[in-house]
């Protein structure tokens, strides 16, 4: 695969109907509505970005404390605060006109109807490139259990959204809080997802020992950051082999090598989340560093890397702890 130096790397990737100029996408909830990062980077240098999760009506979110640092990670319980889909269409999206990158709207609801209503509202919006369904949200009709842990529910919601927004590429974002994430991936595929993104955050908690109280007002939060990288990488590898849809992998990606590892494990593109907090230019630097790495390694097109992981003994053996 070695080639002579010079000659730009082809960084573009294709995920089903969605073409990205490079594989680095900023993740939902960590990149605001995009414009917040204009002081630090050119949006056009990114493959794309995903907005904060949008609901039908604006949401104020949870009471503070909403975040807590943990070893090599952080917990968050923002409570899905967002401006609502109308304000997004009226104020946020127009500000992104001509930004030169793929804009992806993250969508959630507390009921199937809410998912559908938000998706329908977004369908046909100018300059919107795709929607991403966040299935980690509690289903208020099913006693607060997340949509994303029940295969029939996943299939239904995805199919309903598919019909409501026929014009937009549909990314389904999987929750990792499930026994076998491949089962969720297959359900999303069967519902009509064009591609999958994974993983969302892992459920976790922190305790304030002195006060004998949870640190987060919401008690429970989602763990993100480098701490979860090995877990996310395993899940991406598994979904890649078991489901057969293009994947945007994420979980703790902080540098180009992390991103490339996710690609080797099966990601066609990757998302960068928490790293945007501790390093606001992390995403664009990754684009540059991936380009440099490909040149060094003699790789003409970064998409060649996806799924190139070689297993020493054929397929991986049954996972076993200890």
């Amino acid at each position: 695969m070695k080639r002579s130096r010079g000659g730009a790397t082809d960084l573009s990737v294709q995920l089903g109907p969605l073409r990205l100029k490079n594989p680095i996408v900023a993740a939902s909830g960590t990149f605001g509505y995009g414009t917040e990062f204009l002081p630090y980077l050119k949006l056009a240098d990114l493959g794309g970005f995903v907005t904060k999760g949008l609901s039908l009506l604006p949401r104020r979110g949870n009471a503070p404390p909403r975040t807590c640092e943990t070893p090599s990670g952080m917990l968050n319980a923002i409570g899905l605060a967002n401006v609502g889909v109308e304000a997004f269409l009226d104020e946020k999206l127009p500000a992104l006109r001509g930004c030169g990158t793929a804009v992806i709207a993250n969508v959630f609801g507390e009921t199937r109807e809410e998912y559908v209503a938000v998706a329908r509202r977004l369908n046909g919006a100018p300059d919107l490139h795709a929607i991403e369904l966040n299935l980690s949200c509690p289903n208020t009709e099913k006693g607060g259990i997340a949509f994303g842990v029940s295969p029939p529910v996943i299939r239904e919601v995805v199919a309903a959204v598919r019909r409501a927004a026929p014009g937009l590429p549909l990314i389904v974002k999987l929750t990792p809080n499930i026994t076998d994430i491949a089962v969720a991936g297959r359900a999303a595929r069967d519902g009509g997802a064009d591609m999958l993104s994974l993983v969302n955050t892992f459920l976790g908690m922190a305790v304030d020992l002195r006060a004998r109280r949870p640190v987060l007002d919401n008690v429970v939060g989602g763990l993100s950051g480098p701490a979860i990288k090995p877990l996310a990488l395993y899940m991406v590898q598994r979904v890649y082999r078991e489901v057969g849809l293009p994947i945007m992998g994420m979980g703790g990606i902080s540098g180009a090598e992390d991103a490339l590892e996710f690609m080797v494990a099966g990601s066609a593109a990757v998302q960068v989340g928490t790293a945007n907090f501790f390093d606001p230019t992390a995403s664009v630097r990754m684009v540059r560093d991936i380009d440099a790495w490909c040149r060094r390694e003699g790789i003409r097109a970064v998409r060649e890397l996806t799924g190139t992981l070689q297993f020493p003994h054929g397929a991986p053996p049954a996972p076993c702890a200890g």
Binding site: P39, R66, N276
Partner: protein, 267 residues
């Protein structure tokens, strides 16, 4: 406009056991900074602790040096890492961030109220007040004990009258800053001539805000909060604010603050 840049350590002094004065060079940040703003400083090499730490801008040094200072107290791993950084080290630094203090009307007397390391926010304000020809401020400064007081030299040099309170009585009056504020705010006609600028631990902010409200004195509070990003995107740093019939509202300390009018927030 904020910048994300590696700032070089050009000086680093230990003031006492756990307080340090760090001088960083970053012309873009120094030029843009206003009193009450802060930076996010990288305080590790690996991935733990993960997040940058918010630090008030203590002073911007005069002239064209492009230098500014941070006064910090070592309280945990991030600040311990900071304390180990030698001259010449480069620290990823994001700033200036947040809204600074709103300057008081020309005739108003600024009363700076500091608890503990909250003092770090005031030198820049003192210099800004002088430059903008506001009335000279007075500083009311409380700490646990004498050894926890820092930067007194700066205020003396600037001829800022300083009133001290320590919990153990080792210097100044024994007790909290409120003991010093109560007499100041006692006379309503005087109180109306004052504006309070407060930075310190939350219980102190609550007590001072209550005193100010009773006296009818305007009061600005510089809040602290857990700040994962510092730039308004994570929505993690919010403070509870008066709301409506749907409950409280939340505002981001990093971007809508860190300075709020006392009446804007529910502590």
């Amino acid at each position: 406009m904020p910048f994300d840049t590696p700032a070089a350590v050009v000086r680093h002094e230990s003031l006492n056991r756990d307080h340090f004065l760090l001088t960083l060079e970053s012309p873009s940040i120094a030029r843009a900074a206003r009193a009450g703003q802060f930076v996010m400083l990288q305080t590790r090499d690996g991935t733990d602790p993960l997040l940058r730490r918010p630090m008030s801008i203590f002073r911007v040094l005069p002239g064209r040096s492009g230098r500014f200072q941070i006064l910090y107290k070592v309280v945990g791993r991030g600040t311990r890492y900071l304390a180990g950084q030698p001259v010449g080290a480069r620290l990823a630094t994001l700033g200036p961030l947040g809204n600074g203090f709103r300057l008081p009307p020309a005739g108003t007397r600024p009363v700076l109220v500091s608890g503990g390391i909250g003092i770090a926010i005031f030198p820049f304000l003192v210099e800004t007040l002088a430059k903008t020809r506001r009335r000279a401020p007075v500083l009311v400064y409380g700490a646990r004990t004498k050894g926890d007081l820092a930067a007194l030299g700066f205020f003396r040099a600037q001829r800022v009258p300083v009133r001290l309170a320590t919990e153990d009585g080792s210097v100044g009056v024994r007790g909290f800053v409120t003991r010093l504020l109560e007499p100041l705010l006692a006379a309503p006609e005087e109180a109306a001539q004052l504006e309070l600028f407060v930075c310190g631990p939350t219980p102190m902010l609550q007590a001072v805000a209550a005193l100010a409200a009773r006296a009818g004195a305007p009061c600005q509070l510089a809040l602290e909060s857990q700040m994962p990003c510092g730039i308004g995107v994570c929505l993690g740093c919010v403070v509870r604010c008066p709301g409506d019939d749907q409950g409280p509202m939340f505002r981001r300390v990093c971007t809508e603050g860190p300075v709020f009018r006392a009446t804007e927030v529910l502590l």
